[in-house]
């Protein structure tokens, strides 16, 4: 009979083939752990302490990414019960709602995460603008980000049709007819999107493939590019403040002897005074960045689960092309657009959105001043922030008006008169 240690040795050796560094106990190993892992090497080994400040990024990019991952996982699960044909789609939804174990929870999670992702991506864009983080050398990554915002909307919109209920059918009727207003290309665009002239089996299949294959593939690719460029250019960060006095260590950087350091102090890093920190003040990504990321993931998953257990995703009656609900509304994130479309389909539905998207894409190439990067609402950028802020607020107001203040025949109603 061999000693236990000898039994464990091949296991340990095998473990080491997977995790070459093992549990890192020194800064050198922590760096090696980050660099040698496929999944972790998206981080650099060290990060600027200021870019870790929650009050700077609000974690919105990461939240968007987490939501995308939740959507992929729940979405693939839902695909196992969903048939993309008008005869079966609605029945699949009923199955998911009533006979599949945890079906409602997964569907709710998919729906609420999709809504949350639209909000998170929008807020992330606002954050990047208000901190001037799109400036050189990060101009093109802003463009990638705008593309990701559009892909997020496209993913949400294509997913909206799949339940094949009244809500889905009429939202997509309105949405696809807006596409038909595009000059010259309009009719072809609509024909291409629907695979025909009506919202029928062909359209449902196209939306399904767009929703499950084409758009997620494009989004994942662009997310990889987005992250790669963040990694290469580093996260924008506030300029390092003047060297902090010893008593107030910079965030995330504590001598190992500090008791409040708690669990994160499980380190054999030699206690060193902060004043002797390396000149660029960077901290190890493991654990400072990693712990924050995991904490945020935990918080997000808890929140999503609570919401999904309490609130059910809507499912109306089976789609009926002969009966238009009154009012017929697009998905909420397009209700600002629908409000504009109510005044004019061509101007509100095509021209204004096109100009807005072009303006968004061109922002980093129009605003080439190097000032105010890494600071919220920098004084030097007051004018730019005002312009962007007004547009963002108007978009939000239009969306709120379309959602809460429009009743039958798109007439004005007060939400409390219901």
């Amino acid at each position: 009979m061999t000693e236990p240690a000898n039994v464990l040795r091949p296991l340990k050796a095998g473990w080491r083939t997977v995790f070459r560094v093992g549990w890192p106990r020194t800064d050198k190993d922590r760096a090696a752990a980050m660099i040698s892992s496929f999944f972790l090497h998206v981080h650099s080994a060290k990060v600027k302490p200021n870019s870790l400040r929650a009050s700077y990024t609000l974690g919105l990019g990461l939240v968007s990414f987490y939501l995308l991952m939740v959507l992929v996982v729940t979405g693939v699960a839902l695909m196992l019960y969903y048939t993309p044909s008008p005869a079966d789609a609605y029945r699949s939804m009923k199955d998911l709602g009533f006979v599949v174990t945890f079906g409602p929870v997964l569907r709710n999670m998919h729906r609420w995460a999709a809504h949350a992702m639209v909000i998170a991506v929008f807020l992330h864009m606002c954050r990047v603008f208000f901190t001037g983080a799109y400036k050189a050398p990060r101009q093109f990554n802003w463009v990638v980000g705008v593309s990701l915002l559009l892909l997020t909307l496209g993913l949400s919109f294509t997913g909206y049709l799949l339940p094949w209920d009244q809500l889905a059918f009429w939202a997509i009727t309105v949405g696809s007819n807006i596409a038909g207003y595009a000059p010259w290309l309009g009719d072809d665009l609509k024909y291409l999107l629907l695979g025909g002239t009506i919202i029928g089996p062909g359209a449902l299949l196209r939306f399904y493939v767009l929703h499950c294959v084409i758009l997620p593939g494009a989004a994942m690719t662009l997310v990889a590019v987005h992250f790669f460029r963040v990694r290469k250019d580093s996260l924008s960060a506030p300029p390092a403040p003047a060297p902090a006095p010893v008593a107030e260590a910079a965030p995330g950087r504590f001598p190992a002897s500090t008791r409040s350091y708690g669990l994160m102090a499980l380190t054999d890093r030699p206690a060193q005074p902060v004043v002797e920190a390396d000149p660029d003040e960077d901290v190890m990504a493991w654990p400072h960045l990693l712990h924050r990321e995991l904490l945020l993931l935990l918080a997000l998953l808890v929140a999503l689960h609570v919401v999904s257990l309490v609130f059910n995703a809507p499912l109306e009656e089976l789609a009926d092309p002969t009966r238009t609900p009154n009012p017929a509304k697009a998905p909420w994130y397009f209700l600002g657009l629908q409000e504009l479309v109510h005044y004019s389909a061509l101007i509100g539905g095509v021209i204004i959105p096109t100009i807005l998207v072009l303006a968004l894409v061109l922002i980093p190439y129009l605003d080439r001043t190097p000032h105010g990067v890494g600071v919220w609402f920098a004084r030097e950028r007051r004018r730019a922030n005002w312009i962007f802020g007004v547009f963002a607020v108007v978009a939000v107001i239009l969306t709120l008006v379309g959602t809460f203040f429009r009743g039958p025949n798109w007439a004005w109603v007060w939400p409390w008169t219901g």
């Binding site: 009429w170 007819n177 072809d188 009154n326 479309v341 005044y343 389909a345 007439a411």
Partner: protein
């Protein structure tokens, strides 16, 4: 890896075999990819549509009593039997494709974005950009009214049986 015969005296514009092959090869690859993408783009436009026919019977003239408006849900149109004859008006709002509701004596109202049309389907209030479509009618050999959605007619159109 210097070509032993390369004296270095060649000018930039001179055509070498290597450059010729490179240009030819690259052009071929680009042409191939563009052709392939073009074919794929065309592939995305279906040639045959399995959609309801645009010319269909809606019933016998007797089914529509004089002075009435009948909404045919499945065909998404109204059939009127007026003083001067039959006429058919589409219920599809020209704005964004919702079904308009018939308001007897008044016209049509769209539930989606508030467009109003008069009794002839002409736009009274936006955002609809065009009047409602009028479809041509005919009588089948079996005596049924036939609506032809491909044949658009003017609002003075009446069909006498």
């Amino acid at each position: 890896m210097k070509d032993p015969k390369d004296s270095g005296a060649r000018t930039d514009n001179e055509q070498t075999r290597r450059r010729f092959l490179f240009t030819t090869g690259t052009t071929t690859v680009v042409a191939g990819v563009v052709g392939f993408l073009g074919a794929t783009a065309r592939f995305l436009f279906p040639n045959v549509l399995y959609e309801p026919p645009s010319r269909f019977p809606v019933g016998r003239p007797d089914d529509f009593p004089p002075g009435t408006a009948t909404f045919l849900r499945n065909q998404r149109l109204f059939v009127f039997n007026g003083d001067a004859g039959f006429y058919a008006i589409s219920s599809i709002c020209t704005h964004l494709g919702c079904n308009v509701n018939h308001v007897p004596g008044d016209g049509f109202a769209c539930p989606c974005h508030g467009s109003l049309f008069d009794a002839n389907g002409q736009v009274v209030r936006g955002p609809a950009p065009k009047p409602l479509a009028w479809f041509g009618l005919s009588l089948s050999p079996r005596g049924e009214l036939i609506v032809d959605e491909q044949r658009l007619v003017e609002p003075d159109y009446r069909f006498k049986v």
